[in-house]
Structure formats: C-alpha cells, structure tokens
C-alpha cells in the first residue's frame, strides 16, 4: 500500500518534470549554447533520477545518470551541443515518459530498442555525434495512455459557476399552463434539470483533493529546513486518502507551514542529542488526517523535545505577573495554550524563548476563522501534538433537511436516530428536549404541529443515547434526507456557535447545518422531559 502511494506521487511529480523538460528542450534548440538552459535540463533529469533511486527503479536511474553526464558537459562548456544532440535528448525524454508510465520499467519492443540505441549514443563522446552524417532513426516511443490531465483550479471554479448559473435559469422559467406545455416537453425539462443537477454535483467533487497531496506540498520544505537546521527529519502522512476541499486546504497551507517549521526548528533535536536521549536518530513529524463524524481532524505531531515550559513560565511571570503558585493552578491545557497569545511570539523573539510561539497566534486565528479548534498536547522529551478539528469542509454529506419557522435547517443523517410526529408521546420519549424554536428565536406565530427529530448518541457525544431517550429537536416540516454539498462556516456564522457548516442542495438552495453537540452545549436552553 505504501509503495503504491509513493509510486503515484512519483508518476505525478516525474510527469510534471518531463513535461517541463520538453519545453526547456524546445528553448535550448533555439539557443544551443545557453548553459543556464542546460542547467535546467540537468536539474529536471536529476529530480527524476532522485525519485527513481528512492523507489529502487535502478534502470531508470542509470538512464537518467547517463543523460546527466552530457548535461553537465554542456552546462560547464566542456563540450559543444548541436541540434542532433538536442534531438537525442528529446528521444531520451520520450523514453523517460515510458519508464515513468511503467513505474520504472519498459517492456514494449519499441521502447527497448530505443533504450539500446540511445544508450549506445550516450556511451560515446558527444563530439562523435557531430561527425555523423545522418541522425539515427529510432523507433517511435509508444505513446503512453492518457489517464489524467492537469487542470487549472480556476477553470473548475468557472465550470462550477457556469453550471450553477444554468441551474438558476430554472427559477426564471415562466409559468406555463398545461395547454401551453405538453407532457412530453414537461418530462424533458424535468429530466434535463435533473441531469444538470447531477453534473453540478460531480463538478463540485473536482474541488476535493487528497490530504496526501496536501502533505506532499511540505516534503521539500521540510527537507530544506532540516538541512538548514542540521536536523535529520522525516515526514509521514497518515490518512492521506481522505479528500478535503481544496479551498480549505489552501487556507491551511500557511498555518501548517508554521507548525511544520516550528516542529523542525524547535521540536526535533539534533541527531546526537536524540541518540544520547535513547531516541531514533531521525526525528519524525506526522501529519495525520481523520474524519470523526462531521469533523475533519488534522494532527501534526513530532517526537521532539516538547514545548519549552520554562519559557512559558517566564512569559507568564514577566508578561502576566503570575506567581509560581498561580501557575500551578493552571491546567496543562491552559498552560500550553499560552503560546497562542498574540504577544507571545514577539516576546519569544526578544527573550529567546524556544520559538514555538512564533506564528502560533496566526495559526490559532486561521483555525478559528474556519470555525475550528486546536488542542495542544506536549510532553517534555516525548514530543508535541497539535490536534486541529475543523467543521465540515466541502464534501458531499447526507443530511435530514427540515423547516423550522422561516429557516431551512439540516442535521447530518449520521446524527439522526429517529423522526416522529410531534405529539405528547413522542416528546416524552426523549430525555432531553431542545426548544430549538426559542433557541433560534423563530417567529412563534409560525408554529405548527410538526415532528420531533431524535438525535443519535456518538462516542464523543455529550448527548444521552437513544436508549436513554436521546436529545430531541422540533421541526415544522421534514423536507427529506438528501445530499448536501457542505462548505465551512464563514467568520460571522461561526460566531453564532450553533452551526457546523452550510449545505448547498442540488438545486443551489442553502440549508444551515446544525451541530448537535453545540445545540446541547447551548446553556440554559435545554428543557428536561422526565
């Protein structure tokens, strides 16, 4: 499984380099002596070689190495390239594409013949190629199967917007009488609209990206940071297959950069120090993604030295005037959360704190903006964990939609135990009843005899289980159980403290997704029916 994962990354990354290589070769064809371009060509082939070696694709690595040798000569001006040599590199690039598509192996007779022929040339001095009257005709490399394309994210957004606008046309359909519209045309319109809605939903899913790809963004940076700080660090990604909205991931890019940078710079100890402490020489940073119900949990952990508690104590004393006795009364969580205070980072720079504070308030703000929370766990010499819980990111979820007063609301289907008609018996079956109408301050004049939605108990829930009666909320009318495209709350909606996200229905309408835990936690609003 791990190997497959890395092979996928290898194919994605190498294909990118090889596409770029074609572009640079076209440039160098027009300026054969441009050493900088030869340097670029060298760099791209070297990158492919490095990844191939890491995955033990030795045939591919050896072939890259032979091409690199020639690049180096042209880069340094030791040999003079000509058009025939550039063609040799074009041929070599095509062969590299076949190698990459075959995960480091080629088997097509044409490819094997091409490999033999190019290797024969690469074994010679480049000057020897100059003397040849005609370029060698090599078999055309088998074109690789096109099974993926790179698409600009803006294009996806534009397609989504376009399809949504077409859907909105439905709302402008003039009212037609039965005389004016035949049954056949009516069916055709309904079918057309239904197909369009399906298309929109599928397009929406193009906005999802695997966490693995998100984590891969940091691999090179961590490697560079590790070198700068003279650390030996590896990044592991768990739950990389979980798909998350690219917009959410983009907003998390900077905060995660800070977290990972801090982990390398201040968490992971130098190798000698680690060995002396009985730890593995190589420090480990793990980016883990999980879905717990409606929450995306992202954890960044390292096995380094942990947060510098002396520095936190010094901050509490100097900046907040706390005594040691007062500090002792602070819970571990409160103590560690001090690093998220806005002025902690500047103090960190001037008083040479461990540095964990740098940017931590920025991270906390970014997560709050997304309606999420962050917990910090840290043990001296064991490591630090940042657990970030984010509400529903863009994804397709099933939810029970209902109307209450003037509002269209939803609860994730996974949270619904049962729906019953609102009558005395039903309301007495629940041990706790939330007066959602009062909680949301809906217009009481609209109250109708509706339904009770009994919410399900979850492992982390504050709610009583269905066997205990569960938590009940009322609904004027149930609209159905349907898929919603769930997107995160903005900053303003997050302030209400009741919603988990905003759901977009297939027809583009909006429903507010309630967070049952937050409803339960809304103090003073729960009436107990016992």
């Amino acid at each position: 499984m791990e190997l497959e994962k890395y092979q996928k990354i290898f194919i994605q990354e190498s294909s990118k380099y090889l596409d770029e290589l074609d572009t640079v070769l076209i440039k160098v064809e027009n300026d054969l002596q441009d050493r900088q371009l030869w340097g670029e060509i060298h760099g791209k082939i070297h990158s492919v070689k490095g990844m191939a070696r890491a995955l033990s694709m030795m045939d591919l690595a050896t072939f890259c190495h032979a091409m690199e040798t020639w690049c180096k000569w042209f880069q340094e001006g030791a040999k003079t390239p000509n058009e025939r040599i550039v063609q040799l590199f074009f041929d070599g690039t095509e062969l590299l594409k076949s190698f990459v598509a075959g995960k480091g192996e080629i088997s097509e007779p044409r490819d094997l013949e091409s490999l033999r022929s190019i290797n024969e040339d690469l074994a010679k001095d480049p000057e020897a190629l100059l003397d040849r009257a005609e370029p060698e005709v090599r078999p055309t490399v088998a074109p690789t199967k096109i099974d993926r394309i790179r698409v600009d994210y803006d294009l996806i957004e534009s397609l989504l917007a376009r399809s949504q606008e077409i859907m909105l046309l439905e709302k402008t359909l003039p009212p037609l009488t039965q005389d004016q519209i035949s049954a056949g045309l009516g069916n055709w319109i309904n079918h057309y609209i239904s197909m369009l809605k399906g298309l929109y939903f599928q397009l929406a899913q193009l906005r999802l990206m695997p966490v693995q790809d998100f984590g891969d963004l940091f691999v090179k940076t961590i490697r560079d940071l590790a070198k700068s700080y003279n650390r030996d660090v590896k990044l592991e990604i768990e739950g990389g297959e979980i798909e998350v909205d690219i917009g959410l991931m983009d907003r998390l890019r900077e905060p995660f950069m800070h977290l990972l940078r801090n982990a390398v710079a201040h968490g992971i100890e130098p190798s000698v120090e680690r060995e002396n402490a009985g730890k593995a020489r190589t420090g480990k940073i793990v980016l883990k993604a999980e879905r717990h119900g409606d929450q995306l949990i992202l954890t960044v952990s390292d096995d380094g030295r942990g947060l510098d508690r002396d520095a936190i104590s010094a901050y509490l004393k100097e900046k907040m005037g706390m005594s040691h006795d007062e500090m002792r009364t602070l819970s571990n969580e409160k103590l560690l959360n001090i690093i998220c205070r806005p002025d902690f980072s500047s103090a960190g720079e001037t008083t040479q704190l461990a540095g964990r504070g740098i940017g931590m308030n920025v991270i906390a703000q970014a997560i709050e903006y997304l309606g999420g929370t962050m917990k910090i766990h840290s043990e001296p010499s064991i490591g630090t964990r940042f657990i970030i819980s984010l509400p529903l990111s863009l994804s397709i979820i099933y939810a029970v939609l209902f109307r209450l007063g003037e509002y269209t609301l939803a609860v994730p289907t996974s949270n619904v135990h049962a729906i019953e008609n609102e009558n005395t018996d039903a309301s007495h079956k629940v041990s706790q009843f939330c007066d959602l109408r009062s909680l949301l301050r809906t217009d009481s004049k609209t109250k109708v005899k509706g339904h009770i939605i009994r919410l399900r108990h979850s492992a982390t829930s504050l709610m009583p289980s269905p066997e205990e009666g569960g938590l009940g909320i009322e609904a004027d009318a149930i609209l159905g159980n349907m898929p919603l495209m769930a997107i995160p709350l903005g900053e303003l909606l997050a302030k209400t403290g009741l919603f988990a996200g905003v759901g977009i229905m297939e027809n583009g309408d909006i429903a507010l997704i309630l967070d049952p835990e937050k409803i339960k936690a809304a103090e003073g609003r729960i009436d107990i029916f016992d």
Binding site: E157, L160, A161, Q164, E165, K171, T172, E406, Y407, T408, L439, L440, R441, T442, I487, G490, E491, L492, L493, K495, T496, G497, L498, V502, I504, G508, D509, I510, L512, A522, R525
Partner: protein
C-alpha cells in the same frame, strides 16, 4: 482611483471599484438565525457563499427602506467576501488616490464616505451574535 458610490440610510458611501465583484439581483437571500439585524442572510453565488448586509441597518441600525428585490453589491477582497444591500446605486466617480478611505464629494457636493471592505467587516465582527 475609481470609486463605486451608493446610497444607504440617507448617506453616500463609496468603495474602490477594484473590490466590486458583481452586482447581483434576483437572488434569493436565505435568512440566518442569531445574526445581527443588519445581516440579511446568505447567498450562494457562483460557487461562493456571501454574507449579505443591509448597509442602512448597519450604518443606522434602523430600517429605512424595505427591499423587495434588492441589488446586492458583491465585494471580494483578499481577506473575504460579502454582499451589501444599498438603498440606491449611484455610479462611479474618479478621484485622486486617498489610500482607500476618507471623504470625497460627488458632483452635487454631497459628502461620500469612502470605505474599505475590511472596515465594514471589522464593524460587523464587533456586533453581537449567537444566543
């Protein structure tokens, strides 16, 4: 710079035109509970969710005009996005760059308060929300 001018609660307001994403109409605004009175609701427009704010209520905290099918000025800037409901859209005016805020005068000598989306957002963030 070009200033987009509109009227709300008897006052003239302006934004630098670069912040204007679209002017939308005929869009259903979905009400959200527990929001301040000036928060008219949400719209989902071209893949983005916009908080829609009644400028009259935000600036004066009272209803001056009832909007049946309002124009919504959709703003997008680096920190966010929102929609504003004016009483009336006036038009565009070119003024010397004053850093995005301050007061200018239109052709009739009316005072136009030039704002930034961030300024409005800060005002919104300072209001009371929730239970």
């Amino acid at each position: 710079m070009d200033i987009f001018i509109f009227e709300a609660a008897g006052q003239y307001f302006g934004f630098e035109a670069k912040y204007i994403y679209r002017i939308a109409d005929n869009v259903i605004i979905v009400p959200v509970p527990l929001m301040p009175a000036c928060h008219e609701g949400l719209i989902y427009y071209r893949g983005d969710l916009f908080d829609v704010i009644d400028m009259g209520r935000l600036m004066e905290n009272e209803v001056l005009t009832l909007h049946d099918d309002p124009y919504i000025i959709l703003l997008k800037w680096n920190a966010g996005k929102m929609g504003l409901i004016p009483d009336r859209i006036v038009g565009m005016k070119w003024i010397e760059d004053n850093g995005g805020t301050g007061t200018v005068f239109n052709e009739r000598g009316d005072m136009v308060k030039v704002m930034t989306p961030d300024g409005i957002w800060k005002k919104l963030a300072g209001l009371a929300y929730g239970t």
